[in-house]
Point group: C2
Chain length 258, copies 2
DNA sequence: ACCAATTTGTCCGTATGTATG
DNA sequence: TCATACATACGGACAAATTGG
């Protein structure tokens, strides 16, 4: 073995046919020439255009579908689509689970992300989102005592707050963590009776702070809301430094897959 | 037309064979029975086990490859792997571009995420990461006057700070935004001469604050670092409410694809 | 409401290039 | 060097689902 001379060239990556099909279609979408909602055409048409086998076209389409750039609409027709976040988010959540992230990591990140989201909400919430928040609030007030419903509405509440920030970057950044984090409130409400009412109260305060454009108050209550979660989490006998269990995550992810 | 009665049942989704192949393999990985690095077996072997055609197996494998759950190693053998973030992150970045997110959204989110990251770094940075930060710093001090290098090292700096937080959730959450945000410092250093030295100075202060475990100081300098970026961005004549251009993003994404 | 054409999902067999021993 | 195993890609085929008259 031979040359101690540093390699001048990187290994050449020869792209396979299906990758080139995927990239060609992706390029059309990214460049804007193919708009969300536009039909892409039948597999046979793509076979003609690219001059490759249909199996090859299909592999390329799978890649794009998975990446969220293309979807199968009615009649399984191929459409371009604006990338759906949820598919990507749940993939990331799954990745986090596989990395054995701990509840503490989840909590610390959620604290930063949710407080950031509510700051944005105070600054940018419009009447429409506030109405949605109020609707969410009246639903959650009816749901006290029903842990499953409670945690569902709680998850939606935080998504709405993020949406109110009118910051899609932040909205997306928080989603993978939220997908793993908030479903755990079901477990908490089951084990800690005061958990439910406390959560509803906190939501109320947060909504009011957003409406009053009171930044400090909003921050305060969001922070308190999450810190309460952590307290109840430990009160429920869970270890905060334990990894997010795969079984729990499977539950969370399968719900979101719909 | 007809029944005004609300539908009782959802549309039945009949899973196709390739989806079931993908899900079966995914289930093995998520459950932990198939560990990262384990061989999955040849396509022929999967054909035998699942009793489906090779084309079908291949479509299923593409889905998993794209999701980052399996990879092709040496000899194109199939291995399970712990999901690589970077593939997912660049997909999300692309999604953000397609949604025409603005630089302002990017900036607001980065402010929250990077300040959060440095807070974590102050709390959890160990000697190893600090050494890496120092190494990064000596490289960037040599790179003043070279915008391309400067922005590369800057990007790495922020990734290191996030890594120092020992919070993988946060580390992952910030990455899509960072992928779009920090490459723009190249443009800034090109247009605003003072930008480079100011950046290097800020990095120095941030590293020192992390070493001193001074939370307030770290927050202050990270915030200042980013606010300076925004000032320079506008000084360079760019409109902060303009969408991240697709051309610029293409540049950023193609660099990261390696 | 039926029929014909189209399209997808799946399967079979085969050829070629490449990696491993 | 050669042989084997394997991934990639191709052509052709058929049933079921969907579309459009």
């Amino acid at each position: 073995m031979s040359d101690t001379i540093a390699d001048r060239f990187d290994r050449i990556r020869v792209p396979s046919a299906y990758e080139m099909v995927a990239e060609a279609i992706e390029a059309e979408i990214v460049s804007g020439r193919l708009r969300p909602g536009d039909e892409i055409g039948t597999e046979a048409a793509l076979v003609r255009q690219f001059g490759v086998n249909r199996s090859t076209v299909r592999e390329g389409i799978r890649v794009l579908e998975q990446g969220g750039l293309v979807r199968r609409g009615a009649g399984r027709k191929l459409y371009g689509c604006e990338p759906r976040y949820d598919a990507l988010s749940s993939r990331i959540s799954r990745a986090l689970v596989l990395q054995d992230v701990t509840f503490r990591e989840l909590f610390d990140a959620a604290l930063i992300l949710e407080v950031g989201a509510v700051e944005g909400a105070v600054a940018h919430a419009d009447a429409e989102v506030i109405a949605a928040l109020e609707a969410n609030q009246s639903r959650i007030e009816q749901a006290i005592g029903n842990p499953v419903l409670l945690s569902e509405i709680d998850t939606e509440f935080h998504a709405l707050v993020a949406h109110a920030s009118r910051n899609r970057v932040l909205e997306l950044a928080r989603e993978p963590a939220a997908l793993l984090f908030f479903p755990s409130s079901e477990m908490i409400c089951r084990r800690v009776p005061e958990g439910g009412p406390r959560m509803v109260e906190a939501h109320r305060r947060i909504i009011d702070a957003i409406k009053a454009r009171d930044l400090e108050l909003a921050r305060l209550w969001m922070r308190r809301h999450l810190v309460d979660w952590r307290k109840d989490f430990m009160r429920a006998g869970r270890e905060i430094d334990a990894p997010v269990e795969r079984i729990f995550a499977r539950y969370a992810l399968s719900r979101s897959a719909l």
